[in-house]
């Protein structure tokens, strides 16, 4: 089990895992904090302070602070997705499409929290934490980071080796067509089929729950607003009355306005600690779907290569039988192809193995995440209800005084 988790859903700007006292226990703790708006106009963006505390030897020193922006996180995620196929890469918060929302305090806070959660999940994943890209992200200065990031832009994101693979894929596709094997090949594994079906349906259910959660946030804001308006109106009405009744009205109006603030606060709490985790859950499911695509590709690749290798083997045997002078060349090609095929098979099997571990971790993680989110939700609702009850209750003695006077 991962010993350094339980920080998902964290809404504080501190990583809840404080550096442990013992030096033997390896730890890596990251905080994303202090969002600052930089640049002007269309070029404006938000930068964050990323603070790393660690005792790992690969890292320079106990504490390191760097400045990073959203695209840097995207770079890291993409690199990890590229290198660690089979692993469910922790999801990133979405790019914002709406201009004026991009710099609202709420959005910035939501994003900061999500980025903090992202980087900590990476840092606590047994495989991902060892990534060199992670180290670069956490340690390198801003210029190096920018260079690394801009290098990756453009259509040709892939390395030359990948490029060759692309051609080979096209080639095998042609072969398929020629050989009449047009149907896409899929692995037939009933357990995996069930998982695929589960993931797709889960996404729908979660999206619905997240939608309702978002709506609930809005409702809290609306109720807050109407309590505020109501309070004002009641106060004015009370001004028409005299003496103690007028005062009672005035107090009621004030309480109403007071509760309005509490509701706005709870709306914010709901957004950060209940709706966000649900959105995060949806993103995680989408990340799994991406891994499933990788797995499908890997499967097809190893299948194609296996088929092609078989053909080459048959061809080679034929040539050797005929004692052709092309046999040597063919043997060389065959050996090469076989190596590739084995490599592809290894890659595919690695993905399968990783996925089976990842799915267990995912389920456990999400139970913990949801449990925490529900705990926070219930706490918030209970707190709000108590505040409401107390506020109104405090008015009763004043009302009693009214009726007796």
């Amino acid at each position: 089990m991962i010993s350094t988790t339980s920080n998902s859903g964290s809404s504080s700007s501190q990583s809840p895992r404080s550096p442990s006292a013992s030096q033997q226990q390896p730890f890596l703790s990251v905080t994303v904090t202090d969002p600052v708006k930089l640049g002007n106009g269309v070029q404006a963006y938000i930068s964050y302070r990323v603070i790393t505390k660690t005792n790992l030897p690969e890292y320079q020193g106990q504490e390191k602070i760097v400045i990073r922006r959203y695209s840097d996180f995207v770079w890291l995620r993409d690199r990890l997705a590229d290198k660690y196929k089979g692993i469910f890469i922790p999801p990133l918060p979405e790019k914002s499409t709406v201009e004026k929302f991009r710099f609202s305090a709420e959005f910035i806070e939501m994003r900061r929290q999500a980025l903090d959660i992202f980087i900590n999940r990476v840092a606590s994943h047994p495989e991902l934490k060892q990534s060199e890209d992670l180290r670069i992200f956490l340690q390198e200065d801003e210029e190096t980071m920018e260079r690394a990031r801009t290098q990756e832009t453009g259509i040709f994101k892939k390395k030359p080796a990948d490029f060759m693979q692309l051609f080979k894929d096209v080639q095998s596709k042609v072969t398929d067509v020629v050989l009449g094997k047009e149907k896409p090949i899929e692995e037939s594994n009933p357990e995996y089929e069930k998982l695929k079906h589960y993931i797709f349906e889960l996404e729908d259910h979660l999206a619905e729950a997240q939608k309702q959660a978002f709506r609930l946030v809005k409702r809290h804001k609306e109720l807050g607003q109407s309590l505020s308006d109501f309070g004002k109106a009641i106060k004015l009405l009370g001004a028409c009355e005299g003496d103690s009744l007028g005062k009672a009205f005035s107090e009621l109006g004030s309480k109403s306005e007071f509760l309005s603030l509490k509701l706005q606060k709870e709306a914010h709490n709901l957004l950060m600690n209940f709706e966000e985790p649900l959105k995060d859950y949806v993103r995680a499911v989408q990340s799994i779907k991406a891994t499933m695509v990788d797995r499908a590709n890997a499967f097809r690749q190893q299948y194609d290569l296996a088929e092609t290798t078989k053909l080459k083997e048959i061809n080679l045997d034929k040539l050797m039988l005929m004692r052709s002078e092309r046999a040597g060349e063919a043997e060389f090609e065959y050996k090469e192809l076989k190596a590739e095929s084995e490599e592809a098979t290894r890659r595919y099997q690695s993905i399968v193995k990783l996925m089976s571990e990842e799915i267990v971790r995912f389920q456990e993680q999400k139970t913990a995440d949801m449990g925490l989110a529900f705990h926070e939700f219930a706490k918030g609702q209970e707190r709000l209800a108590k505040e409401i009850a107390d506020a109104w209750r405090s008015l009763i003695p004043k009302l009693e005084k009214c009726s007796s006077s």
């Binding site: 109501f230 219930a378 008015l395 009726s403």
Partner: protein, 521 residues
């Protein structure tokens, strides 16, 4: 003065099927959905064999709380006693029911072919005269309202429901009839609760007299002219003595349409008041009244705003309750899904957590609905008093109309005296007297005497109305104070009850999910 009968201008919509029939499981038991494809949320038992099925749903009473001490009268609504305060009305119970279509007798209607109208059964239980049941149509209510307006000038008479010009195109006929029925019932209850109007003969006759309503319908002058009853031409030309109308009738409002001539003269007087250079002979001098009038106007404005905001508040409460319920439903579905597809233990745990949250959310949602139903009742007082402002305006109009009548008569007298003097002067210049002029002077003096009588009647009437205004204003202040206090108390106690309930529902979930909480809380 006011009824606690609810009918806020919008009603909370009927609850959705799902939420209503949702079987809530006991949060502590293991949950298992039925294995068939139908929505398990509607089942209370599960055919699934192994684990325990959904236990019995918590009773609805679970989420209904009774309001605390004292103000139970504020919380209950009934069509029986409309008041917060003990009623001294002679009527214990009035209900309007059983709308029936009836055909108007073709022979008496102006429009050939007849038309249909709706009658309602009015059932009245009196304090010591037993029970009565009569049938009335809407037009009868209008007649009642008109008669009361004439007889009780200066009083704050509860306004009657509007005549609706809109036909069944806009609303379903049934809905319209039901709305009207409810409005009529509330109207009668308010009338019965009025300390003066409640004891009136008009109301008694309305409630008890079988068959046709024996109250005279107001007939406008145009119809009377058609019937040939009004001597319109001579009146218009100013001939004929004022005594065509008795002095006591002078006190009645000219706007009843019975006296077209008088209407014109009073209109002329009011224009003279507004635009003429001279000061009318009698003006509204009661400063206390003017102050109170201003206060009432201020009250009306604030009531309007408060009533609006109260409506918005109730709507917001309703919305949040609905969304909470829908959230609960979504989580129920998630829980069911995870349970069905569970491969790992962590999934089953999560499914149970989903269901816990869902149960709490649905409970909270039902609580909200209860809260709202009660809130509507309490805040309805604002709406009621706003409606009452119409009656107040009417009563103030009665007063100014009566004053106008007095002013008109005084001005009449003044000009009559002037004419008489002139005639006398002219007549004295002729030796031996002027037979015709002398006769005219005699006639004038007779007219003056009658007009003096009328003036006295008018002044008496004006004073009477002023007295009514005064009493009613006091009653308004008194009763408003009580009603508003009751409203505040009821509203607050209601809110507290709901909030306490919600707090305990969520506290349970906090407890159940405490193991997920961070160490630093």
């Amino acid at each position: 003065m006011m009824g606690s009968e609810t009918h806020f201008s919008f009603d909370p919509p009927p609850p959705k099927e799902d939420l209503e029939t949702l079987a809530l499981s006991d949060p502590l038991s293991a949950v298992d959905p039925p294995s068939d494809g139908s929505d398990p949320l509607l089942h209370s038992t599960s055919p699934s064999s192994s684990s325990s099925s959904f236990p019995d749903p918590p009773s609805y009473a679970d989420v209904i709380f009774t309001p605390f001490n004292g103000t139970t009268s504020a919380a209950t609504s009934s069509s029986t006693s409309p008041d917060f305060r003990p009623s001294t009305s002679p009527y214990l119970r009035i209900s309007v029911s059983d709308p029936q279509k009836e055909q108007q007798d073709a022979s008496t209607s102006l429009v050939p072919g007849g038309n249909t109208y709706v009658t309602y059964l009015i059932t009245t239980e009196t304090r010591d005269l037993g029970r009565f049941g009569v049938r009335r149509r809407f037009r009868d209510f209008v007649t009642l309202a008109d008669r009361l307006a004439e007889s009780y000038r200066g009083h704050f008479i509860p306004p009657r429901p509007d005549k609706s010009v809109v036909e069944s195109q806009v609303m379903q006929k049934q809905e319209f009839v039901e709305q009207r029925r409810s409005a009529l019932e509330k109207y009668l209850l308010r009338l019965a609760a009025h300390p003066v109007v409640g004891r009136s003969d008009e109301l008694a006759v309305f409630l008890k007299a079988q068959g046709r309503l024996p109250l005279v319908r107001s007939v406008d002058v145009a119809s009377r002219v058609l019937d040939g009853a009004a001597r319109l031409p001579s009146q218009l030309f100013g001939e004929g003595p004022v005594a065509a109308v008795g002095p006591e009738d002078v006190g009645q409002p000219a706007k009843g349409g019975r006296d077209l001539l008088r209407m014109f003269r009073e209109l002329r007087q009011s224009v003279a008041n507004d635009w003429g250079g001279g000061r009318p002979l009698v003006v509204e001098e009661d400063r206390e009244f003017l102050e109170r009038k201003e206060k009432v106007q201020d009250l009306e404005q604030q009531l309007s705003t408060a009533s609006q905001q109260a409506e918005a508040l109730v709507k917001a409460q309703q919305d949040i309750g609905e969304t909470t319920g829908e959230l609960g439903l979504a989580f129920f579905k998630l829980g069911k899904f995870e349970t069905e597809e569970a491969v790992y233990e962590s999934q089953r745990t999560r499914a149970a957590d989903f269901k816990r949250l869902a149960t709490a959310a649905v409970r909270a949602s039902r609580s909200y609905r209860e809260l709202n139903a009660q809130s509507v009742k309490h805040l309805d007082i604002l709406h009621e008093y706003l409606g009452m402002m119409l009656a107040v305006h009417s009563a103030f109009s009665d007063r100014s109309n009566a004053l106008l009548t007095v002013q008109t008569l005084m001005s009449d007298l003044s000009s009559l005296h002037t004419r008489a003097k002139r005639l006398e002067a002219a007549s004295s210049k002729i030796f031996g007297g002027d037979r015709s002029r002398t006769r005219k002077v005699e006639e004038l003096k007779e007219t003056i005497r009658i007009t003096e009588d009328a003036k006295l009647c008018a002044i008496r009437e004006y004073e009477r109305i002023k007295e009514n205004n005064r009493n009613e204003l006091e009653r308004l202040d008194r009763e408003r104070r009580d009603d508003f206090l009751g409203m505040l108390k009821g509203f607050i106690i209601n809110q507290i009850g709901y909030a306490d309930k919600a707090a305990s529902v969520w506290a349970q979930v906090v407890e159940e999910t405490s193991r997920y909480g961070r160490e630093r809380d």
